[in-house]
């Protein structure tokens, strides 16, 4: 279709069932809203913006949700849409999901990430601090700011660099946890471990890192991985499940060593 004379398509009428919860302690419930004039060109979050503008003018409390860059890279947005983390479209964060995926008359359920380790703070906003603590436990290479060796001092085979980058693409949104029936954070943790373990710079701390991050992941109350694969299917960056295999292999090796 050409851009020059695209007719403006008529608005859709949608029904939303949105999780409302006043704060961490309050009981939540699904509340129904009508969105009478939704343009197919809106993003999902812009649709919520419009609903919120209307709520504010009516004197109601607008729906709280996390969002920031709205271009799929910051990892802030986090919505279960009709039971799918980030909605129906593959490799797409909910901020990049557009309303043309929906048809006039549709009913859409919007809920927060569901996991014991991600307590709801309000409405659709959850606390993902556990993911930061997993990284703090060991998700880094210890290098003081100063004068490290020249960037080209250690060649890195291109395939290793590509594998590191594939894993490093994780945006820390937590969709993997939300999608997993066990609420496991293995894809998140495995992606950081695989990123750093793929590079020569990451070798000295490799085993210590694997044990520390996995211990923290367990301490945060995330479930275990049972190889279901929902995490990878929901991941907006399509991180493959083999990062979990890598994590398990490194933990096994590290445990043997430390014994």
């Amino acid at each position: 279709m050409s851009g020059a004379d695209a007719p403006s398509r008529p608005g859709m009428r949608l029904t939303l069932k949105v999780w409302r919860q006043a704060d961490r302690q309050a009981a939540g419930r699904l509340v129904t809203y009508e969105a009478p004039d939704v343009s197919p060109d809106m993003s999902f979050l812009e649709m919520l913006d419009v609903v919120n503008e209307d709520l504010i003018l009516r004197g109601d409390d607008p729906i709280a949700f996390d969002h920031d860059c709205r271009e799929g890279i910051c990892g802030s947005c986090a919505l279960m849409v009709n039971g799918y983390a980030h909605g129906p479209r593959r490799a797409t964060t909910v901020c990049q999901l557009h309303m043309r995926e929906y048809a006039d008359g549709d009913t859409i359920y919007v809920e927060p990430w569901r996991a014991a380790s991600f307590p709801v703070l309000k409405d659709l906003v959850v606390d993902r601090g556990a993911l930061d603590r997993i990284v703090a436990a060991g998700g880094f290479i210890s290098v003081p700011t100063g004068s490290p060796p020249d960037g080209n001092a250690t060649p890195v085979p291109k395939d290793d660099a590509e594998r590191a980058m594939d894993a490093a693409a994780c945006i820390g949104c937590g969709a993997c946890v939300a999608a997993c029936p066990n609420a496991s954070a293995s894809l998140f943790t495995g992606s950081k471990l695989t990123h750093l373990a793929s590079l020569p710079q990451g070798q000295p701390e490799r085993h210590r890192r694997a044990l520390a991050m996995v211990d923290q992941m367990d301490a945060e109350g995330f479930g275990s991985c049972t190889n279901i694969g929902e995490c990878s299917a929901a991941c907006p960056k399509e991180i493959p499940m083999d990062v979990i295999a890598q994590m398990n292999a490194d933990v096994r090796r590290a445990s043997l060593r430390s014994r």
């Binding site: 279709m1 050409s2 851009g3 020059a4 004379d5 695209a6 006043a22 704060d23 343009s39 809106m42 993003s43 979050l45 812009e46 913006d49 504010i56 003018l57 004197g59 409390d61 607008p62 709280a64 996390d66 969002h67 920031d68 860059c69 709205r70 890279i73 910051c74 990892g75 802030s76 990049q96 557009h98 703070l121 309000k122 906003v125 601090g129 930061d132 703090a136 436990a137 060991g138 880094f140 290479i141 700011t145 004068s147 490290p148 060796p149 960037g151 080209n152 890195v156 085979p157 291109k158 660099a161 980058m165 693409a169 945006i171 820390g172 990123h195 750093l196 590079l199 710079q201 990451g202």
Partner: protein, 655 residues
């Protein structure tokens, strides 16, 4: 509460220029930073934990500074509005980071990067600062590689480079189209390591809402906990603002939705001068607006201009689909006007020309605000697989947003606000005019002059955070009494907290009929129309007439629901928009007073016969540093003269 002054905006010029001692050292350019560092005072490692450092913002500059200072042993607190420091908007930078490594043996050097940056900034930056930036650029790459940043590599295992933004050398390092993300995650991981070590405490979901000064020195901040609304006081020996740019004054920009000016604007109102606020950068390759609901604009890397050809129909009002417009009836306007640079002219030139053709009624797309970026010739020449390899992720993103396939239909692009060169004035040590208040990254004005080159923002953020601040903060603290951090119970803190509470209550009490976003949209349109890609005296005067009224209407008619003691996103926005409404006026004053064109600031009255920006070095070779005059409409101008000892100012020419 600030209300309009009935007389409208007036500015006056100060005759006291002593406030603006840059402290930039003299002597041979290449030795200045080393000499300066040697002269600095030091804090003994065992004593560092007795100093408290507050850092606001966790992007490249803030996270790098926090990780470095924490590791040195200082007691550091970091604040960010996001739910995790890893989400700061540095993460969205796509293209790359410059460094004068000369790995390509193509004639690059520290001096050439310095030269390109001074010239690219249209001779409105300080030579000493820019040279230091070019010097430390090489260390940044080493640091990031050691941290495990997965830069692109060649088959031999060495780092890959590309040429970026029209540079004549290949000095840009990159990690696919996610360079900002990977550099930020490197800094974030270094930061989390210090969290684990106990030297740094991170406070996510905390909005800085006031700066606290004691006898004119920065000694703390007041924050609002965004989960439950608690107002908290934090005292320290030094405060660092690394809170990014203020592009969201235009409402629609490529910035993240939460990016705001509140931290630097609060500091400005407490005495920090604001430098060159009208220097804003407009990026030519963004996805056009699709309708009223539009909440932000999405940038696509300008590397697209390497293979895409930009055109519009020759005839105004031509609404035929692009594939039905024959070659002879197309105007490849950049190739026509700038035969040697073609589609690769600098960002400001490309943006302005796109605006011109749209003003002539030749814009494309449903709104008429767009130009084609056409890959059909490149696909014919190189094949679709090669184009997919180069730009696949960008094409996918475009298709996701517009539902059009750029392999078969030309992309539509339009310029958008992307970066702000202006910011708080800082000296060579990155200290503002408030002692003890340092400003880093996009939040300061320092290194890019009137126009920033591609792949230089990441470089500056990390240079400030990893290399400049760790030296200069120590030197400042060495002059402060050790273990004497002021109590947060003092009068200055009590007053600051009271001011915050009264402001929050005022906003909640208005109970008007318009939402915060509706005011923000109106402000954005006003700024875009009159202080956007092209500016003139009449338009700026009109904006200055309307802005105080809009501000007055905001405080009379805004509707902020809920209370202060809860997660209240409307209240967060209202506080930010209140500050944008004041900043917008200062931007227009600055743009009006600077009647020359330079870099991203194009004054229609000052152009060459062929429509290019014409600088006026006789009258305007200075940094305009604005002191807050007490009210929103009476700023005081201070000038820091710029002298060029090494790079002789010339007229930019791209024909």
């Amino acid at each position: 509460m600030d209300l309009l002054s009935p007389a409208g905006t007036r500015w006056r010029e100060s005759d006291d220029s002593s406030m603006l001692a840059s402290g930039a050292p003299g002597g041979p350019l290449a030795d200045r930073w080393d000499e300066h560092k040697f002269r600095m005072r030091l804090v003994n490692p065992a004593n560092r934990r007795r100093y408290r450092v507050l850092i606001v913002g966790s992007g490249l500059a803030g996270a790098a500074a926090a990780a470095s200072l924490g590791e040195m042993g200082y007691h550091v607190d970091v604040f960010c509005y996001q739910d995790s420091p890893r989400r700061a908007h540095s993460i969205a930078a796509q293209g790359g980071i410059n460094a004068a490594k000369n790995y390509r043996n193509d004639g690059d050097s520290v001096y050439r990067l310095f030269y390109d940056t001074v010239k690219g900034g249209d001779f409105r930056a300080r030579e000493s600062n820019v040279y230091r930036l070019a010097q430390v650029s090489v260390d940044i790459i080493d640091q990031c590689v050691a941290q495990g940043v997965p830069f692109a590599r060649e088959y031999g295992g060495l780092l890959d480079n590309r040429s970026f933004g029209g540079a004549q050398v290949s000095r840009t390092f990159y990690a696919r189209g996610q360079t900002g993300q990977q550099l930020l995650l490197g800094a974030y991981q270094a930061l989390q390591r210090q969290v684990q070590a106990g030297t740094v405490v991170v406070h996510p979901r905390h909005d800085m809402v006031e700066l606290v000064t004691i006898d004119g020195t920065a000694n703390g901040i007041v924050t609002r906990d965004m989960i439950d609304g608690t107002i908290e006081r934090w005292s320290a020996d030094v405060v660092i603002l690394a809170t990014g740019g203020y592009g969201n004054v235009f409402y629609l920009s490529t910035n993240a939705k939460g990016c705001n000016t509140t931290a630097i604007w609060r500091a400005h109102k407490k005495g920090a001068f604001f430098a060159n606020p009208c220097f804003t950068q407009i990026h030519p390759t963004c996805i056009p607006v699709s309708g009223e609901h539009q909440s932000k604009l999405t940038l696509m890397s300008e590397s697209l201009r390497n293979d895409g050809r930009i055109w519009v129909p020759q005839r105004a009002g031509d609404t035929r689909p692009p594939d039905q417009i024959p070659e002879a009836e197309r105007d490849y306007f950049l190739e026509r006007k700038y035969p040697s640079f073609g589609n690769l002219v600098p960002r400001d030139v490309a943006s302005r020309n796109a605006k011109d053709v749209c003003d002539q009624g030749r814009g494309v797309g449903p709104t008429g605000l767009g130009v084609y970026l056409d890959f059909s010739e490149a696909i014919q020449r190189l094949g679709a697989p090669t184009i997919k390899e180069r730009y696949g992720n960008l094409f996918d993103m475009y298709e996701r947003i517009t539902a059009e396939d750029p392999y078969s239909v030309p992309m539509r692009i339009f310029p958008a606000i992307h970066y702000t060169m202006g910011g708080l004035w800082v000296d060579y040590d990155l200290q503002s005019t408030i002692p003890g208040l340092f400003v880093a990254g996009e939040a300061n004005f320092s290194d890019h002059g009137a126009n920033r080159l591609g792949a230089s923002a990441l470089m500056q953020g990390l240079a400030d955070g990893y290399y400049v601040l760790p030296s200069t903060i120590g030197s400042y603290l060495a002059s402060q009494p050790m273990g004497k951090t002021p109590s947060p119970d003092g009068a200055a803190f009590t007053d600051a907290e009271a001011a915050v509470r009264s402001r929050v209550e005022s906003l909640l009490a208005v109970g008007g009929t318009r939402t915060v976003d509706s005011f923000h949209r109106e402000l954005g349109l006003l700024m875009w129309d009159h202080c956007g890609m092209a500016r003139n005296e009449a338009g700026l005067t009109e904006a200055l007439r309307r802005l105080p009224r809009l501000r007055e209407e905001f405080w009379r008619d805004v509707k902020v629901p809920g209370s202060g003691a809860m997660l209240n996103q409307s209240l967060e926005k209202a506080q930010r928009v209140a500050d944008f409404l004041e900043l917008g006026e200062l931007m227009c004053v600055d743009a009006l007073h600077r009647s020359e064109s330079c870099g991203g600031h194009f004054r229609e009255e000052s152009q060459t016969p062929d429509g290019e920006a014409r600088r006026d070095d006789e009258r305007f070779s200075y940094v305009a540093a604005w002191e807050h005059g007490g009210g929103p409409s009476d700023p005081v101008l201070h000038k820091e003269p710029l002298t060029f000892e090494h790079v002789h100012p010339t007229q930019r020419s791209y024909t």
